[in-house]
Amino acid sequence: MVVSDLAIDVRGLRKSYGAVEAVRGIDFAVARGEVFGLLGPNGAGKTSTVEILEGYRQRSGGDVTVLGKDPARRERDLRARMGIVLQSSGIYRHLSVRETLTHWARIYPAPREVEEVIALAGLESKAAERTRRLSGGQLRRLDFALALIGDPELIFLDEPTTGFDPAARRAAWETVRALRGLGKTILLTTHYLDEAEALADRVAIIKDGRILVEGRPDELGGEGTTGRYRVSYVERGETVARETDDPTALLNELTSAALARGERLERLRVTQPSLEDVYLELTADEQVGDADADRDQAVVGG
C-alpha cells in the first residue's frame, strides 16, 4: 500500500438535501502536518463538507479520502485516528473532567495520558470538577481535550473559538499551534478571518457550495479579485488609490512622474489586501449578484 502524503483528498464533492444543493462540486487537498482553513459565511457548505469528512454524513457525489480511507465506510480504525472538536455538545454533565477523559481514553487504541491532556487543555484546576459546573470557555477546552485524548493524526476543529474572550482565544490558538508542532494535520472551519490568517497554512473560501479561492492566507487575492497590491498617495488633498499586480512598475511610473514635476507623493503606501479584504470583496460580489437577482425577481413580479 502506498502511504499518501495527503491527509485529506476531496474531488468533485457534492451534497444535496432533497432539491437543495449544499455542496456543488468542490476539490481540495490537505497535506499531512498542514493546518487547512475552510472559511465562509453561514450556509456556505462548510459544515456539510466537514461532516462528510468526519463520517457523519454520506456524500451525494465525488470522491473523498481521509487518511487513505473512505470516511463513508465508518471503519473503527479510521475513527481511531481522527479527533473531532464539537462545540461543547454531548458532554456528560454528571461526570468530572478526569472521569470523562478516562472513559474516552478507553475507547481509543493508543490514547495519550489523561493527566497530560488535562494539562494541555489547561484544565488542571478543574480536573475533579463535574462538567456541569464548568464555564463555557472551560467546556470548550474540554472539547479540545476530548479530541486529543485518542492521540489522533487528524483533528477537525469546527469554529473552535466561537464565543471565546480574547484571552481564551489566544490560549486556544496556542493549543492549535502546539498541535501543529506535534505534526498533527488540522482542518479548521471558522468565521473569523484573523483566526484563519493566524493559524492556517492554507485557506479555502467557500460560498454557496463552491470554493471561490484557495491558497496561503498572505497570497490570496490573485484569482477573482481586482488587484493584489494597492498603491495610494495624497495629491492636492485628495487620496488617490490604484490597484496593480505589479507594484514595482507602477511605483516607478508614479515616482518618476512626480520627480519630473518636482513634487512629492505624500503618504505614499503600498499595501497588500488582507484576507479580510479578499473575503469581503468575494462575498460582496456575491451580494451584488443576489441584489441583481432580487431586482430581476421584482421586475418579473411587477
Binding site: 454531548g90 472513559h103 474516552w104 478507553r106
Partner: protein
C-alpha cells in the same frame, strides 16, 4: 483496540454511575413505581384479592417505566445534547454503545422487579412467584417490547422540553386502562377493548399468572402472542426511524 464487548462493559458501568448521580432520573425511573406500590398497598392492605392484583400490576408498571419512559426520555436527551453524535465520532462501535444503554435500562428493570417480588412476599402476602420461568420470559419480552417502543417514540418527540407530554400521554392512560392497580376485567367494554389492543395489559396478565396464579406460559399464550407482535412492530419502528442527530431548526 479494546474489544466491542469490553467497551460495552465500560460504557455500561459509566451509565450506572451517571444514573445514580442524576437524582431526577433516579426518582422517575426508580422511586415512582415503588411509591405507587407502597401507596396502593397501604390503601388495599385489608384485601388480599386487591393485593394480588396490584403486585403484578406494579411489576408491569416497573417494566414500562424503566424501559419505555426511561429510553424515550434518554434517547431524546442524548440526541438533543449531542451525546449520540459525539459517541459516533469515536471508534466506539454503535452496537456497544446502544447495548450498554439497553443493559443499563434492563438493570433497573431487574432491580425493580426484584424489589416488587420481595415486597410481595414479605409485605403484601402474595408469596414468592409461582412460576419463575414464566416470570423471566414475560419480563424479558416486556423489556424488549417497551424498550423498543420508548426508542421509537423518541423519534417522534421534537425536543426534550416536550418529551414529558409525549411520554405521559401514552404512559399514564396505558397504565390506567391496563389494570395496574385494579381488575381490568371490571372496566367498561370499550376500555377493555382498548386495553386488549395495547401491550401493557398482556404483560400484566403474564406477570400475574407467573407471580400470583401459578399459571405457566401456555395458560397465557394469547398474552405472549400479542406482546410478541407488539415487540416486532416496536423494534421495526425503533430501528427504522433511528437518528444519531437532532433534527435541525
Amino acid at each position: 483496540m479494546a474489544s466491542a464487548l469490553n467497551l460495552t462493559w465500560h460504557q455500561y458501568r459509566l451509565e450506572r454511575r451517571m444514573f445514580w448521580r442524576n437524582p431526577v432520573a433516579a426518582f422517575f425511573n426508580f422511586v415512582l413505581p415503588l411509591l405507587f406500590l407502597a401507596f396502593f398497598g397501604a390503601v388495599f392492605s385489608a384485601n388480599q384479592r386487591n393485593l394480588d392484583i396490584i403486585v403484578p400490576g406494579i411489576a408491569g408498571m416497573s417494566v414500562m417505566s424503566t424501559t419505555f419512559v426511561a429510553l424515550a426520555f434518554n434517547t431524546t436527551f442524548l440526541r438533543e445534547q449531542g451525546v449520540l453524535k459525539r459517541i459516533r465520532g469515536t471508534p466506539m462501535p454503535e452496537s456497544s454503545y446502544l447495548g450498554a444503554l439497553a443493559l443499563s435500562a434492563v438493570t433497573n428493570t431487574v432491580l425493580q422487579i426484584g424489589i416488587v417480588t420481595v415486597a410481595g412476599r414479605f409485605a403484601f402476602g402474595t408469596g414468592w412467584p409461582r412460576d419463575w420461568g414464566a416470570l423471566i420470559v414475560f419480563v424479558a419480552l416486556g423489556v424488549a417490547c417497551f424498550a423498543a417502543l420508548g426508542v421509537a417514540l423518541s423519534h417522534a418527540i421534537p425536543n426534550f422540553e416536550s418529551a414529558a407530554v409525549y411520554v405521559n400521554v401514552i404512559f399514564l392512560p396505558m397504565l390506567f386502562v391496563s389494570g395496574t392497580v385494579y381488575d381490568a376485567t371490571k372496566e367498561p367494554l370499550f376500555l377493555r377493548d382498548l386495553a386488549d389492543a395495547l401491550p401493557l395489559k398482556h404483560l400484566i396478565d403474564g406477570l400475574s399468572g407467573a407471580m400470583v396464579k401459578g399459571q405457566g406460559l401456555t395458560a397465557n399464550g394469547t398474552a405472549l402472542a400479542v406482546l410478541a407482535v407488539w415487540t416486532a412492530l416496536a423494534i421495526a419502528l425503533a430501528v427504522r426511524g433511528f437518528s444519531w442527530e437532532a433534527r435541525r431548526g
